[in-house]
């Protein structure tokens, strides 16, 4: 995991004091994790874009009106807002709120691969689609912990509290999620793919 010279809480303090640059850094720093959290729930790129904007409207309103709680960490707080908005969307649409993944038809992250050939890009897209499907195939309890820890950046203690289990159970679910994912990646021969681990 990446370490930053200026922490999120320092950036929030700067933002509260009027630094829009600090806010730009915060948004840029976490945009992918938050967007991925939303996308994995709604499975629609345009809708995920809308919900990302809605999430940050809430963030801006909360921070600028002085209602931001300094005790919590910034990223878990924002991802929880995003998660709740995505789930609310399903409730309003009377759809079952489960984490769903793409069917492979969407273009994935084309900017990131702009220097690759069309064929290379297709291979990477296919690999990433496959990985998303592997995550989707995990048992609910394992996928939930994996999403909360990896994408929502909640601590195992926080996950244990939210899901009403012991911290050892939360850790165990994460462990099995990673083991299962690894096994499936090995089985499908994607584990050491050069697209995943470039030298």
């Amino acid at each position: 995991m990446r370490k930053y010279e200026v922490s999120d809480s320092q950036l929030i303090s700067l933002y509260k004091n009027g630094s829009e640059d600090a806010f730009t850094e915060l948004v840029t720093r976490h945009k992918n994790k938050i967007f991925t959290t939303i996308y994995m729930i709604v499975k629609d790129h345009d809708l995920a874009e809308d919900l990302l904007q809605e999430t940050y409207v809430k963030v801006v309103n909360t921070v600028k009106s002085g209602r931001y709680n300094e005790e919590g960490k910034f990223l878990p707080w924002v991802t929880r807002i995003a998660h709740n908005l995505a789930i609310d969307h399903f409730r309003k649409a009377k759809r079952y709120p489960t984490i769903v993944l793409e069917d492979g038809s969407n273009v994935f992250n084309s900017l990131e691969f702009s220097e690759d050939s069309i064929e290379d890009r297709q291979i990477k897209e296919d690999t990433h689609t496959l990985l998303r499907e592997l995550i989707q195939e995990l048992p609910d309890s394992q996928r939930e912990v994996l999403m909360m820890r990896h994408y929502m950046q909640m601590s195992f203690q926080e996950i244990a509290e939210v899901t009403d289990v012991s911290i050892n159970t939360a850790l165990g679910r994460m462990r099995y999620a990673l083991i299962n994912l690894r096994k499936r990646m090995d089985k499908l021969n994607v584990a050491y793919d050069k697209n995943l681990y470039p030298e």
Binding site: M1, E20, K33, F35, A48, L178, Y197
Partner: protein, 78 residues
């Protein structure tokens, strides 16, 4: 005596939830214990794969968010 670690300890380690002292113990043990080093590497590779499925929002969305923040005082005073 070399300390043994549970699988849950290793999960906490790769997600940086272990204490400084535990970090040193695990890192030291991994130098002498090939099996432990392999386990840690496998965990790290799987976690790296999770980062690769991240998606990126459009520049347009990010611009809208930043613009909303910059103009907050205008729309909040209405």
């Amino acid at each position: 005596m070399i300390k043994t670690f549970t699988q849950n300890d290793l999960i906490r380690f790769v997600y940086q939830e272990t204490h400084a002292e535990e970090n040193i113990e695990i890192e030291t043990a991994a130098i002498f214990d090939e099996e432990l080093a392999d386990e840690l590497n496998a965990l790290k590779r799987t976690i790296s794969a999770l980062d690769l499925v991240e998606r990126t929002p459009s520049f347009k969305s990010i611009d809208k968010i930043l613009s909303y923040s910059k103009s907050y005082d205008l729309h909040s005073s209405k």
